[in-house]
């Protein structure tokens, strides 16, 4: 039985937004990344899973129970961080978390609010309206993780957090899955997902483009590299590399797009005196495009 099972779910809006025939499942013990640009339908999917909105077609089950009918029992074992987090501004962090804990009946065991607050360096005594965006996000994260839920759904969890905190959240996710929980993690940033997720689904304009293991995604990731050397690198040396394409080259400066492993390009560059080397983050849009090109090629092949 999957922790989350989304089965041919569609939700259409008059504006044209929404999701179309999305199917995916999240298993116990894994972090499942849900990746896509803003507005692609990630939050719509998550709010469908949370039964805040209802699908036009398809079925959604959590822990084997249909979310509409079995929602209450399911939510006893679930932690959720909304993408657009809104808290009771007039309360302190501690009061808000106590209130939510009291609504959760029998979730006294597992990670406590105090432990989590200490770990995330959050002062529970301060009124929420005085907290920074990052500290508000911590309140949201604590309520999602408190009591060790079996299913954890996080919509853009690290927004507003500094890199150190982001790492702390990733290790929280890892610890939870090691204990058997399932984490459904939505994000628009590939590097955030690829560092923690086991599998990734990519959504674009409301449709799932692909679901695959993170390793496969890495091999498709395109990075842009800019390099400055003391002597020009002959263009043919770069063009000959598998997975590399020369974007621009002028004198001692070259810009190259690399798909997959960086190993070969580093070995070529090692033969020159490198003054400067900048490798960009893998470009999500490029991955989408590569999927689209694959699809187009397949369609062309079939025809």
């Amino acid at each position: 039985m999957s922790a989350i099972d989304i089965d041919h779910v569609s939700k259409h809006y008059r504006t044209g937004a929404g999701i179309d025939d999305v199917t995916l499942s999240v298993e116990h013990g894994e972090v499942f990344g849900f990746l896509g640009p803003n507005g692609a339908g990630k939050s719509t999917t998550i709010r469908l899973v949370m039964d805040l909105i209802r699908p036009d077609a398809g079925r959604i089950r959590i822990l084997g129970r249909e979310v509409r009918r079995g929602g209450r029992a399911v939510r006893r074992r679930l932690g959720y961080l909304p993408g657009e987090l809104a808290l009771y501004e007039q309360l302190t962090g501690g009061q808000m978390l106590d209130h939510l804990a009291s609504l959760r009946e029998g979730r006294g065991t597992g990670r406590s609010v105090g432990d989590l607050a200490e770990r995330l360096h959050l002062d529970l005594g301060r009124p929420i309206r005085e907290l920074s965006r990052g500290n508000k996000q911590k309140v949201g994260l604590i309520q999602a993780f408190m009591g060790d839920p079996e299913v954890i759904i996080l919509d853009e969890p690290t927004s507003g957090l500094d890199p150190l905190m982001q790492r702390e959240i990733r290790s929280l996710m890892r610890e939870s899955t090691a204990e058997g929980a399932a984490v459904f993690l939505s994000s628009h940033a590939l590097n955030e997902v690829s560092e923690v997720a086991d599998r990734v689904a990519i959504i674009r304009a409301g449709s799932l483009v692909a679901t695959e293991a993170v390793e496969g995604l890495r091999s498709r990731a395109v990075r842009r590299i800019e390099v400055r050397t003391t002597t020009p690198i002959p263009e043919d040396q770069l063009a000959a590399l598998p997975g590399a394409s020369l974007v621009a080259s002028s004198g001692n400066h070259a810009t190259i797009d690399i798909t997959g492993s960086m190993d070969l390009i580093v070995k070529v560059l090692a033969r020159f005196e490198v003054l400067e080397l900048v490798a960009g983050e893998p470009d999500l849009e490029q991955i989408f495009l590569s999927y689209y090109e694959d699809q187009r090629r397949e369609t062309a092949d079939e025809a």
């Binding site: 809006y13 939510r75 959720y80 909304p82 657009e84 987090l85």
Partner: protein, 259 residues
């Protein structure tokens, strides 16, 4: 959630209680002056419609004065306004501010959210109405208006029931649409139209049969200050509030939230 909702409104509860008590004390403090000056000549000079609209019938007795000055319009209006403001915010406010996502991530049903919010609003109105009744009893005896305590209680109870109906109406509009402003505006407009229907009904024969559609008629049009609690009418108001609560829960349960 019930306790939280009441706690969050504690300042409003205290504020409205003070406002009501102050209004009551000020009005009744004027009573001895009004009683000792013959106002009937002044009253006769008003057109019948004005007298009907503002309930200006009898200033000579304490009961007549309290009915005309307080229960014809001012006090019920204050409680109704408080009820509509709070009711329209109770569910729709959570949705408007986006806190409903976190609330419903807990093992509670949407119906229970509506139920507890409605209960909190009604309980809060009950508190405010109790303060109102207490202020009436104290001020009536302090300024020797000598209105029977039971009658003051009866009129306060009916004003409370009236406010509860419109508060739940505001809550239901908010729960059904998710729009706080719309719930507040439509709720207030309906409350005022219902008042006009009840107050002006006796003036126009074509309007008269429609008075029974107005909660104001059932609450105060039947004069609880003069005759005590009208049990049948009270039951009708309670039933209306109940039906509206169920409707609100049903509508809220079916909707897509927070779009």
């Amino acid at each position: 959630m019930f306790g939280r909702s009441l706690h969050d409104e504690r300042r409003a509860l205290i504020g409205w209680s003070i406002g009501l008590a102050a209004t009551i004390v000020l009005e009744l403090a004027l009573y001895p002056t009004v009683r000792d000056n013959d106002m009937s000549a002044l009253l006769d000079s008003y057109p019948e419609s004005v007298k009907q609209l503002f309930g200006l019938t009898d200033f000579a007795t304490g009961t007549g004065y309290v009915r005309a000055e307080l229960f014809s319009f001012v006090l019920p209006l204050m409680v109704v306004v408080f009820g509509v403001l709070w009711g329209s915010d109770a569910v729709a406010g959570e949705e408007d501010r986006g806190t409903i996502d976190l609330l419903l991530a807990n093992p509670i049903s949407r119906r229970r959210v509506v139920g507890e919010k409605a209960a909190a609003v009604v309980a809060g109105l009950g508190l405010v109405s109790t303060v109102m009744a207490a202020a009436l009893v104290l001020a009536s005896s302090a300024f020797s208006a000598d209105v029977p305590v039971a009658r003051l209680g009866a009129a306060s109870l009916m004003a409370f029931a009236l406010a509860a109906v419109f508060a739940i109406l505001g809550l239901a509009l908010g729960a059904a649409t998710g729009k706080r402003g719309l719930a507040r505006g439509v709720g207030a407009a309906l409350a005022i139209s219902a008042y006009l229907l009840s107050a002006l009904g006796p003036l126009a024969s074509w309007l008269e049969p429609w008075r029974v559609a107005s909660p104001w008629y059932h609450a105060l049009g039947v004069d609880p200050l003069g005759h005590g609690v009208p049990v049948g009418h009270l039951a009708l108001l309670v039933l209306s509030a109940g039906v509206l609560t169920v409707g609100a829960a049903e509508a809220f349960d079916r909707r897509d939230l927070g779009i």
